[in-house]
Amino acid sequence: MELIWLIPAFPVLGFVLLAALGRRIGDPGAGALGTLAVVGSFAASVAVALTLAQEPEGSRQVTQTLWAWIPADSFQVSFGLLADELSLMMCLFITGVGALIHVYAIGYMKGDPDYARFFTYLNLFIASMLLLVLGDNLILTFLGWEGVGACSYLLISFWFTEPANASAGKKAFVTNRIGDFGYMLGTFLVFVTFGTIDYLQIDQAAPGVSAGTATAIALLFFLAATGKSAQLPLFVWLPDAMAGPTPVSALIHAATMVTSGVFLLTRLSPILEAAGWANDLIAWVGAITALLAAGAAVAQNDIKKVLAYSTVSQLGFMFIAIGSQNYVGALFHMITHAFFKALLFLGAGAVIYSMAHEQDMRRYGQLRRYLPVTFATMFIGWLAISGIPPFSGFWSKDEILAGSFQVQPAGQLLWVAGIIAAVLTAFYMTRLMLMTFAGGTEQWRTPAAESLPEVPGDDHTDDHTDAHAGAHDDHHAHHLTPEHNPKDAPVIMLAPLVILAVFAALAGLLNLPFADQLHFLDHWVEPVLEGQSGLPSAAVQWGLALVSIVGALLGVWFSWRVYQQHRVDRAKLEQPVLAHAWYIDDSYARVAGGPGEAAFQGLADFDHEVVDGAVRGVGGVTQQAGEAVRGIQTGFVRSYAFGIGIGAVALVLFAVVRMSL
């Protein structure tokens, strides 16, 4: 139990060593060192988890106070780590999936001039995330929260230093600041309400809080969560996040960062329980996000961007679960999603690696012949995310949908929204698989100009791709020639894929719905969670599951018709008819530099004026005020002396007159 501190200590140590010596160790020593640090952290997590599991249920909470951090009288904050069922579960999959991504990155980043720096950031990222989940109070979690944010900017901008993209970086910064604002206000409100910011004490005090206060706190922390976990309206940064090296995308989208919002709300479930309508809001924001993002994913051609929207959509599912107070469902889906999304991202990375860093799916096709291992593993990931039983995604998604079904009021509506999003998920993932691995023709064999139809606004995409490529042209050639013969990535990249594929297939075992003793996850996290709502009766669940299976198959089938058999013109699906419904997609596309910019110039302008304008406006107003103050500073000694004299006279008069009154 005393070993809790080791969990974050390993990556911190790795970070320090790499920062100090990384350049000297070089390639691949730095990668090995970084990986070792995370593996060590994973081992520590396992050890602590095993010890904790031996404790009797209900007393599996250990706080390890390392030192008193802010020892003010009225406001005591300790640097303490809280190990309980929830935080350890998070640690296990953060370090587990994180370690696999590290291994993968050893191969992926090979030959990069900033190899060591990359692993330095990765370790810092993991350390921040562990601090986020292990902190025993809101401030410490906030530190991790900020650390994760800072690392994500560093990693996104790793290859992304072109000035044109600086505004995108700024946007990520601003949206996250808005979320932080919610976090800080929420923390303040918690402190005012409970007189403490320690989770354990909050948990004890939470049942006595008034509904209004609980709602306010819940809304503020939900605002924070929408920032980090990329929900409406603060999701705009996530497409930027996929511009970094692929292992980073996997890390951000799967194991860390985006899950922090879900984690935070789960941590505060005792408050959410009393929060009334805030829960409905959370569920509906989640549902709308899931729908809109799934729709957006349908129209993307960049393989990583499809996955990016998919993440937003899947996170929407988790928020549906939280809003329906089905925290176990949210956690379950978080875990399975971590496995299959990491798998899919790393698989996409392997494809990109094999295709000379081409990310456009329209230039893929028939790759299953060349990349058998990548195809096989991604195939499992596809089955998992599409919700095909018995793969993991089915079980977790089904639990969320079942939980949402009986929410009052309008739970059925929530369920319908979820099902539609699930169908869309199956559709766009099948599309991704078909365009990449099947589709009948090897698109890159024909020259680019012919194979790519002219789409208005497409040049915008190219700008970004080129800028992106230009930044690292020296080490990653961006020349996909018709003669290119792709082959599978090296073993060091494939091994993590295989391991993740196994978990993506089997993670459903954590919480099978058939019998109570199969609810391992339920039983494990039960003591932490307050107000976990039950699920509908078995019969209803069976019915719902059947519908969702049929829905998933429908999505797959329709996608097959469009992208394999070409029975339906794909342009009909990806063109304005569908796209018009999702204005927000193109706002996305505009932000990330996707297609369709011209068609939605008006919307783009709105985004430009309002979002950017707000950013500039704040700075502008303060700057103008500053100019006014600056005018006083003339540079003449006499005017300075005059100012001092005036000040002195005023001060003396004030003092003397006050007295004589």
């Binding site: 700024k170 303060t622 005023a650 006050r658």
Partner: protein, 514 residues
């Protein structure tokens, strides 16, 4: 009779024991050892360099200075033990205090001296200004700062202030080839003399009203008697506040600060932000919180509140419109002064403790930040504008990271010492009932964060200009940068020992003369 014996007889005549009315003060040499070390270090260094025929090697003066500062810091240790055992004392006839407050301040001054010596060691050769006088003046002004921080008497305080200031005036003007440096020195001198006159007048009025210049006696007098010449006393208070407010760079007595910080040789700017501010704030705390605190708190708190709010607002808003980074830091130092004034304003043990902690924190942040400006400025210090920081992250990632940490600390981001320093002063102000000033402080922190982030964004998001001369980080400067970042982070993560120390330091501040 021969000549010598006549002289001896005359001496015998004159030099009897002192007359009965005059009491020779007993000087506890051990008790003022740190200050003596600094002062003697300065005088000996001057002697050595003026008596030795040959030029001393260039490493000699910085090494000497650092040794003196370290020795003075070490001399604090036994004194602290003594303070911990027997409580605060007053030495040299009630003129000099030996208490936790003065010892803490001494250590901070020594840290500032080490930083400036490290920076000067690289800066002076680069600018071809090498001469040992810089170090003489640094040690001399450090002695002045320590004198101010340990003064138990207004006259001693004034002497300390003059030692500190005159050395600072000269150092400001000592870059011979930069006109701005000399202009700044002259401005600083003229305005400084102007404000010293205010201080002196304030001391005179206070003496007139209370009949003493000794802080403990003033305190006792105010506690016991109804002051009939109240206007005299309040006038004295206000004038002293003007004089000391000038030294700390509080608005409206701040106008010198931007020009002087910008014009002075950059390492000296950092030193002024650390040691000179410390001396002035220590004096402010001793005079106002200790001597006038118990009885006259209500009278001066509104005045200080006004100064604090003005400093916070003007410092923050003026800083963001600057395009010169050094000048930005100058304005931000005004903003920081506003924060430290919150600690003074609180007029409580917690307030004094928080002010001390803030001063320590700011010494690290200022030394490091101005060190970065020194490096980026390159020979001649021509590159100080925000433009010159474009793309620093791609040219010198380490330097950019260091500057980022220091700026974030100044902005008050958690895990850095700046956050805790701000938290402490704001908490202290709130506990003393100055909620509205605390709110203003937090709002200005947001405003000034914009400025700090603007520098960070310039370093990270903008392109490095073509053809800029290469950037070299010399060894000693590198050490200083490393120390400042380590200090900022270490104090930010594990502040316990130091803040406990500050807590013990202010437990009991001034004792009456025996």
């Amino acid at each position: 009779m021969s000549g010598p014996s006549v002289l001896a007889a005359a001496l015998q005549d004159v030099l009897i024991e002192p007359a009965p009315g005059f009491e020779v003060p007993s000087i506890d040499w051990a008790g003022i050892a740190p200050n003596l070390i600094l002062m003697l270090g300065s005088i000996l260094l001057l002697t050595v360099v003026s008596v030795l025929k040959r030029r001393v090697p260039s490493w000699f003066a910085p090494v000497w200075t650092i040794s003196a500062a370290v020795a003075a810091g070490c001399a604090v240790v036994p004194l602290w033990q003594r303070f911990a055992d027997t409580g605060p004392e007053t030495l040299v006839g009630g003129a000099v205090g030996l208490d936790g407050f003065s010892l803490f301040a001494t250590v901070v001054v020594c840290i500032a001296v080490v930083f400036v010596a490290l920076l000067l060691a690289d800066y002076l050769p680069r600018e071809s200004l090498e001469s040992p006088e810089w170090y003489v003046l640094v040690l001399l002004s450090a002695s002045g700062a320590v004198t101010m921080a340990s003064a138990d008497d207004l006259i001693v305080l004034f002497v300390g202030l003059e030692i500190l200031s005159v050395a600072a005036y000269v150092m400001t003007a000592m870059h011979r080839r930069r006109v701005t440096s000399q202009e700044a020195g002259l401005k600083y001198f003229v305005l400084g003399a102007f404000s010293s006159a205010f201080l002196l007048y304030g001391i005179a009025l206070t003496y007139g009203a209370t009949g003493s210049t000794n802080l403990a006696e003033i305190q006792a007098f105010l506690a016991g008697d109804v002051v009939t010449q109240n206007a005299l006393l309040l006038g004295g208070l206000a004038f002293m506040l003007v004089g000391l407010g000038f030294k700390v760079g509080a608005v409206p007595f701040h106008s010198w600060a931007p020009d002087v910080y910008q014009g002075a040789p950059t390492p000296i700017s950092g030193y002024m932000a650390g040691a000179v501010k410390l001396g002035a704030f220590a004096a402010l705390l001793r005079v106002f919180v200790v001597a006038f605190g118990p009885a006259y708190r209500q009278e001066w708190q509104p005045l200080v509140a006004v100064l604090a709010v003005l400093s916070l607002v003007v410092g923050a808003f003026a800083a963001i419109s600057q395009t010169n980074v050094k000048r930005m830091l100058a304005y931000s130092s005004i903003n920081h002064a506003g924060f430290i004034l919150l600690g003074v304003l609180a007029a409580s043990a917690a307030g004094t403790e928080s002010a001390l902690f803030y001063l320590l924190a700011y010494t690290f942040m200022a030394a490091g930040s101005f060190a970065v400006v020194t490096v980026v400025g390159r020979t001649g210090e021509h590159r100080q504008s925000l433009e010159d920081y474009r793309g620093l992250a791609s040219v010198r990632p380490g330097l950019a990271l260091v500057f980022t940490v220091l700026l974030l600390s100044q902005a008050g981001v958690p895990l850095t010492v700046g956050f805790l320093a701000k938290l402490y002063v704001v908490t202290a102000a709130v506990e003393s009932g100055f909620d509205w000033v605390a709110v203003v402080a937090m709002l200005t922190a947001v405003v000034s964060a914009f400025m700090y982030l603007r520098i960070v964004a310039t370093m990270y998001f903008a392109d490095a200009p073509e053809g800029a001369p290469a950037l070299r980080i010399p060894a000693a400067t590198g050490v200083a940068l490393g120390l400042s970042v380590v200090g900022v982070l270490l104090l930010g993560i594990v502040p316990g020992p130091v803040s406990d120390w500050a807590n013990e330091a202010v437990a009991q501040l001034v004792v009456a003369a025996p």
